[in-house]
C-alpha cells in the first residue's frame, strides 16, 4: 500500500502563487527604480510595509531555497567553497554569491539589509550579504534569540499578546524603540519618504486580525477528526506570515479559513488512514518519513510548532504600536517543552517526535513530554533513512503494544 498524497487546498495554492507573483512584481518595481529591502522574520518588516517598501524575510527565502526548491546541498557547497560554514541562515547569501541556481530567478538588488544581532553569525551573514549586493547593512541590537537575561512567566504562550511587557526587559525595549526610530529617520532621509504612523498602526491592527484568522483556522484543523489539512498544506499556508498586515495577505488567510471551515464541516480527511496522531516538536516541513508512518502505522503527523508560532506575531498595543513591535522583536517564542506539550495536546497527538543528538539520554523534552502522558520519540535528524525508520518503527511498536 502506498499512502495517497494529501489533498492540496485551492486557498493554499493561491498562497503559493501569490508568493511567486509577489517576487515577480517586486522585481519589476525594483527595475523601475523602487527600493526593496531584506530583513529577518521578527524584525523590521511591518515598518518597511508602512513605507510601501517590499521586504523579503530572510528565513522565508532560506526556506524556499532549502525546502521548496531542495537546493540546500548545492548552496551549502557554495558557502563551503567560499570558506564559510554552511548553514540554513546563509542560504540567501549563497544564492547571491552564486546566482545561477537561485530559485525563482533570484532576488533583485535591495536598497538595504537590516542586520540582526540575534547572534554573531546572523549579524555577519547579513553584513556579508549586503557586501555581496553592494548595498547598505543596518544592524539593530537585540532580537528574539538574544534574550537570555529575562525570565519568562509560566504559560507565556497564553500571555505573549496581551502581557508582552512581562516578556521583555524594559531597558532593552527602550533601546530597541530608539533604534527603530533611528532607522525610520534614516529611511526617511535615504528614500525621501515620510513614515506614516497611522498607516503603521493600521498594519499592526491588520496583522492582529490576520493572526486571529490563522488561529481560528488552526483551531478548526486541530479539533477536527480526522485531520482535514495536512502539515504540508499548513506549512505552505504559513507563507502568509512572511508578509504580515497587508490587505492581500489578510484576504489569503481569510480564504484559507473559509476553505478549512468547509473541509472540517464535510469531515474531509487529509490522511484517510489516520489512527494515531503525532506532533512534531520541530521547525521543519512535513518530514519525508511521514509517508512511511502513514503506510505502516496509520500514524498521521498532524502539526508542528510553526502552527502555533504564527499567532505569536500578534501583539495588543495601547496606542503605541512601535513599542508593541519592539517587544515582539525581543521575544517571539521560546523553544521549550511545556509549550510543545500544550500544543501536542491541543492537536490531540499521543506521540511527540523531537530531534536530539544520538545518545542524548534523559533529556528535559523527554521528561516533560512523558510526564504529560505522551510518548516521546527522539530522532537524530529529520531524514527518511533506514536508521530513522528503525527508530520510528521500534517506538511505534512499543506505543501500540
Amino acid at each position: 500500500m502506498t499512502a495517497e498524497k494529501p489533498r492540496r487546498l485551492a486557498s493554499v495554492d493561491a498562497i503559493r502563487a501569490h508568493q511567486r507573483s509577489w517576487l515577480e512584481q517586486t522585481r519589476r518595481r525594483v527595475a523601475a527604480g523602487e527600493p526593496f529591502a531584506i530583513c529577518n522574520a521578527d524584525d523590521f518588516e511591518e515598518i518597511f510595509t508602512a513605507f510601501d517598501i517590499p521586504a523579503l524575510v530572510i528565513n522565508y527565502w532560506n526556506s524556499v531555497i532549502t525546502f521548496s526548491e531542495r537546493k540546500g546541498p548545492h548552496f551549502s557547497q557554495v558557502l563551503d567553497e567560499a570558506g564559510y560554514e554552511p548553514s540554513n541562515f546563509g542560504m540567501g547569501l549563497a544564492a547571491t554569491i552564486a546566482p545561477a541556481e537561485a530559485p525563482w530567478g533570484g532576488l533583485p538588488k535591495p536598497a538595504i539589509i537590516v542586520g540582526t544581532t540575534r547572534d554573531e553569525a546572523q549579524l555577519r551573514v547579513t553584513e556579508l550579504w549586503a557586501r555581496a549586493f553592494d548595498c547598505e547593512c543596518y544592524p539593530l541590537d537585540f532580537s528574539w534569540v538574544s534574550q537570555f537575561s529575562h525570565p519568562l512567566p509560566a504559560d507565556w504562550w497564553a500571555w505573549h499578546r496581551s502581557r508582552s511587557g512581562e516578556m521583555t526587559d524594559p531597558a532593552r525595549v527602550d533601546l530597541r524603540v530608539a533604534q527603530l526610530r533611528g532607522l525610520i529617520a534614516h529611511l526617511e532621509r535615504k528614500l525621501g519618504r515620510r513614515f506614516d504612523e497611522a498607516a503603521f498602526a493600521d498594519i499592526m491592527n491588520r496583522l492582529n486580525t490576520q493572526m486571529d484568522r490563522w488561529r481560528e483556522a488552526m483551531d478548526l484543523i486541530a479539533a477536527a477528526r480526522p485531520l482535514p489539512v495536512s502539515l504540508r498544506e499548513q506549512m505552505a499556508a504559513y507563507q502568509t506570515v512572511w508578509q504580515r498586515g497587508t490587505p492581500e495577505n489578510l484576504q489569503l488567510v481569510e480564504d484559507f479559513l473559509a476553505e478549512v471551515r468547509g473541509l472540517a464541516a464535510d469531515g474531509v480527511a487529509a490522511h484517510p488512514e489516520e489512527r494515531v496522531r503525532i506532533y512534531m516538536a520541530t521547525s521543519g516541513n512535513d518530514p519525508q518519513f511521514h509517508g512511511h508512518l502513514r503506510e505502516r502505522w496509520g500514524a498521521a503527523i498532524v502539526s508542528n510548532r510553526y502552527s502555533a508560532i504564527a499567532p505569536m506575531y500578534a501583539r495588543d498595543f495601547d496606542g503605541d504600536p512601535l513599542r508593541a513591535l519592539a517587544r515582539r522583536q525581543l521575544f517571539l517564542f521560546d523553544k521549550e517543552p511545556h509549550w510543545e506539550v500544550h500544543e501536542a495536546k491541543r492537536w490531540g497527538a499521543e506521540i511527540v517526535i523531537g530531534i536530539e543528538p544520538e545518545g542524548a539520554g534523559e533529556t528535559r523534552y523527554r521528561r516533560v513530554v512523558e510526564s504529560a502522558g505522551l510518548t516521546y520519540i527522539p530522532i537524530p535528524r529529520d531524514g527518511d533513512t533506514p536508521e530513522i525508520r528503525e527508530i520510528l518503527d521500534r517506538a511505534l511498536t512499543a506505543h501500540l503494544a
Binding site: 533604534q179 543528538p357 528535559r364
Partner: protein, 375 residues
Amino acid sequence: MSALALLRAAAADPEAAARAHKAAGGRVIAFLCDNVPSELIAAAGAFPLRLHGRPAMRTRAAERLIDTLYPPDVTQRPPFVASMLDMLIDRVVDFVDAVIVPHNRNAVQAIHRELNDAAAEHGIGVPRTWYLDKAWSPDAAGRAYDRAAILGLHERLEAFAGRAIPDADLAAAIVDGNAARAMVGRISALRGAEIQGSDALQLIAAFWALPHARFAELAAAALGELAPPPPGPRLYLGGSPQDHTGLYTLVERLGATIVTEDHCWGVRAADGMLPADVAPLDAIAARFQDFPACSIRFPLQRTIDANLARARAARVDAAIFAVADRDSTQAWETPEQVAAFRGAGIPTLHLRRQPYEPDGAATDLIGAFLQGLPR
C-alpha cells in the same frame, strides 16, 4: 621561585591565586571574556578572576547537564566555551562569589541562562551569575545602553562590597590595570626577537589570573629570564581564541613563531589601557562599548583594518587563521580577513573546523605552509 616560574605557575593553575585570596578571607568575582572591567571589580575590593577554560577542563558536563535541556540547535558552542561551562558545572570555581557573564557571543551569553536552568532542573549547585548586557551597534543609543550597563554593574559591585567605591580607588585600580596591560604590550612586542610566542601567551594568561599590580611586578622581573627563539618566520595568528599554547608550540616546533594575534587570550589585553584624563567610570564605559565582544565589531571592516594594522606593526612574514569547530563568529568573519591579508601580500593559511587541540592534519597543513614561504 623566580618571577618567571611564578608567572608560569599562575598560567598553569589560573585559579590558584584567587582560591588563595578567598581562603584568606577575601572575595572573588569571576568573569568570562576579555571585555569585563576587571578594574571595577578590583576597586570594589574583590579579586577579579577571568575564567580560563582549557582542554584539561573538558569533562563534557555541559553535554550531560546542559545540552539535555534544550533542542540541539539552541546549544551550539565551540570547545573553548564548553570547557568554561564544564568548569562552572563541575564546581572548579565554587569558591567565587559571583560570575559575570557578558553579552558576547551567543554561546557565552547563554551560560547565564544555562547555569540557572541546570540548577533548577538537576538541583545542582552553580555559581551565582550576573548578566552584563551589551549593545553591539556603534550608535548613540547603543553607547548609552552600554554606559548604563556599566553603571548597573558599578551599583551591583557597591552593593556587593557594602560600601561606595571611591573614585580614588577606581583611579588606583586603573593605574594598576594600565601598568599590567602595558606589560602585556611589552611582552608581545618582544616576541620573535627575545621571546617565543608560546612563552608570551603563557605570560599573558597570567595577566588574567593575578592581581594587576602583582602581574606587572612579576612580568617586569621575568622578561630577562626568557630564552630568545631561534630565527624563523614571524607569524600573525587570527581566528578563534587560543586558551592554551598548543598551536603556538606546534608552530614553534615547525620553525616559526607567532609574534602577534587577534584573539581574547593574546595581546588584545594591551588594547584595554584607559586614559588618565577621563573620569574613571566614563573611561570604563567607553572601553566597554568600543572593545570587541568576542571579536564582534560592526562593521567587519573595522576588524579587518585593525588586524591588518596589527600584523603590519609586528612585521609578520605570514599569517595563520585557525577557526575552531563550531566557532560561528570566526566561521563567518575569517574568510574576508584571509582575503584581505592575501590581498595585502601576506601569505595566509586558513585552517577551518579545528579541534580544541591541534591534530596531525593541522601539523601537516602548517608544515607545508611554512615550507612554501619565501626564504
